[in-house]
């Protein structure tokens, strides 16, 4: 029986295939995934490693007898047994069919969809939408096929199930939320059965299916992208729980492994919000809701339901020099210019700023939502130009006054008692 060493990084779903196969066959597998024995990006670039595995990628297998293999499916095949490979030519061919299906039909779409949510890859709406459709298509095919079958080939777990399940692992954990996966009841049944087999469990641990579709993690992407800065990240987040750190490490490494050459260039600037703990509030989702749905009946209830008062703060601002304000259209331009200069803040702030009064007698006021508990403007020179011309008052997120201000300013409807006699003229939304 095959025995040897598997080089990989922790949490590599490709290596899982080989590891699960070894669980079924009883092959002795020594998994080497942690420094100093194996350090991704270093060990696999050494001449010694490249001599054995010219591609320089992991997982890579080195048998006790000197057999060297790369490509996860080949390693899984080698470490498996006849039952996993298919006992008749027909079964073996079907196993091959599904192993190839897993890599050519599932994997590209799975990565295109999931990697941005892990911050490994830049988000592109077109690509993500395309990937979602592609995943829907493969799940439809699988669902129909599994209607009359318990496992993919014959009545036993084979390499087909191992490969397809491992390639669907990240999608099931990250993005296939209940509403999305619900129509694919046969695939769900099969997947949950697979990952709960003792041989899978020994490798994957407990697999938790996703509750809510993960979205692009811009913060993580920014963190993961400057690859040179390896030591810095750790110091920035001393509070992170250990597990999370480990996960990040894994994702960082995955990035290095899976990264394609045509990825967008790395942004040079450092994310000023990187030090803040992750927030559950999804700014993009809120802005989409605000833009597309009715403010009073949908967007505001959504906001108050999801608002994370630890991670975000609300502010009321008024223009300090209202006597300088002249014609309404000029005031409009002032606000518009400010929004432009705050361009890079869009991911981390939202506001509706309203103009009250008439020509030669008007005032600007707005309600802002921003990341963190402090005013964000000092963080960047671009952002400092306008904010000093305004008064800023932090709003208590639990007070009735705040609820009223948020409702009036964001819906642009109401008495605006705070503005005295000046009538609402128009609003401008920063989103």
């Amino acid at each position: 029986m095959a025995s040897g060493t598997l080089y990989t990084y922790p949490g590599n779903f490709r290596a899982y295939k080989a590891q699960v196969a070894a669980q079924y066959s009883g092959a002795q597998l020594n998994v080497v995934s942690d420094p100093p024995a194996f350090k991704l990006g270093e060990t696999n670039k050494t001449p010694d490693f490249l001599k054995k595995f010219p591609v320089g990628k992991v997982p890579a297998f080195e048998g006790k007898d000197g057999t060297c293999l790369f490509e996860s499916n080949a390693i899984a095949y080698y470490l498996g047994n006849d039952q996993l490979r298919g006992t008749s030519p027909k079964s073996a061919a079907l196993v091959q069919q599904w192993v190839n299906f897993a890599d050519s039909e599932i994997l590209p779409a799975a990565c295109a969809w999931v990697y941005p949510t892990l911050g490994i890859m830049q988000y592109n709406k077109g690509n993500t939408d395309q990937a979602k459709e592609a995943i829907k298509k493969v799940l439809t095919v699988l669902n129909e096929y599994l209607k009359t079958r318990t496992f993919l080939v014959d009545e036993r777990v084979s390499l087909a199930d191992i490969s397809v399940a491992c390639n669907l692992l990240l999608p099931y954990q990250q993005v296939l939320e209940p509403a999305f996966r619900q129509p694919f009841v046969n695939v769900n049944r099969w997947f949950v059965t697979c990952v709960n087999q003792p041989q899978f469990k020994a490798v994957l641990g407990v697999v938790k299916l996703c509750d809510k579709m993960a979205q692009f993690d811009a913060k993580k992407f920014a963190e993961l992208t400057p690859k040179k800065d390896k030591g810095g990240k750790k110091e920035k987040q001393p509070q992170q729980p250990k597990q999370e750190k480990k996960k990040e490490k894994k994702q960082k490494e995955e990035k290095e492994v899976d990264e394609a050459d045509d990825l967008p260039k790395e942004p040079k600037s450092v994310d000023p919000f990187a030090a803040l703990p992750k927030s559950a509030f999804n700014m993009d989702e809120f802005k989409r809701t605000y833009s597309n749905k009715d403010t009073l009946t949908v967007a505001l209830p959504y906001f108050w339901e999801h608002f994370d008062k630890e991670g975000y703060s609300l502010w009321y601002s008024e223009y300090l020099y209202q006597s300088d304000l002249n014609m309404i259209f000029m005031t409009c331009n002032l606000v518009g210019g400010m929004f432009q200069r705050l361009e890079k803040l869009r991911k981390n702030a939202f506001a509706n700023v309203c103009i009250f009064g008439e020509d030669k007698n008007n005032q600007i006021a707005g309600v802002w939502l921003m990341r963190g508990q402090e005013l964000v403007f000092p963080l960047s020179p671009d952002w400092q130009i306008d904010y000093e011309s305004y008064s800023w008052r932090k709003l208590d997120p639990d007070s009735e006054e705040t609820k009223l201000l948020v409702r009036e300013f964001w819906s642009e409807e109401g008495d605006f008692k705070i503005m005295g006699n000046r009538k609402y003229n128009q609003g401008k939304c920063y989103k």
């Binding site: 009359t148 079958r149 769900n188 059965t193």
Partner: protein, 178 residues
């Protein structure tokens, strides 16, 4: 429907790799009886199959479940076998039972958990005569039962004396209410 219950007990003995026991049936209802090695007599399928599973050091624990919930579920399906499966003789009763099982098995591979248990074995034996009677249309109608049944009969060591029931993988009938 107690025909072949002796064989069923014997096949469970074989499946579990236990030494042979003396198995007879009792009375008009053909209630199985098993004589244990110390001379005691156990009656009834549920009692006997639990006893046998407990006697098997190797397979028993997995077949009987590991948590209190699993024990309870096993007990429930043993009861279901005796009170529902074995008593469904009329066509409409059989249909109602198949419909119920079909919806139960929609999102499951085995009756409980993610591995074969005593529940699968006793329902498999109980349903075997029923499945033999079904035509392909009906097998497709009760697709989840069929899929489960096929999985269990292919499980190494389960089928034994029973003839294999044939299922087709592709849908033969495209339009029916599901």
């Amino acid at each position: 429907m107690a025909v072949g219950v002796e064989e069923e007990v014997k096949s469970l003995v074989n499946f579990l790799g236990l030494p042979a026991y003396k198995v007879t049936t009792h009375g008009d209802l053909k209630v199985p009886q098993l004589q244990t090695s110390n001379g005691r007599t156990l009656m009834g399928l549920a009692t006997i199959s639990k006893f046998l599973a407990k006697s098997s050091a190797s397979n028993g624990a997995k077949l009987l479940g590991t948590s209190p919930e699993e024990h309870a579920e096993i007990a429930q399906w043993l009861e279901y076998r005796v009170t529902v499966v074995d008593r469904s003789v009329e066509k409409k009763d059989v249909q109602a039972m198949l419909k119920e099982l079909n919806s139960y098995l929609l999102d499951k591979v085995y009756f409980l958990g993610f591995h074969l248990s005593l529940a699968d074995l006793v329902i498999y034996h109980g349903l075997h005569p029923v499945m033999c009677q079904l035509n392909f249309y009906e097998k497709q109608q009760y697709q989840n039962v069929s899929r489960w049944f096929d999985q269990v009969q292919h499980y190494p060591g389960v089928q034994q004396h029973l003839p294999k029931v044939v299922f087709v993988r592709n849908s033969l009938y495209t339009s029916f209410d599901h």
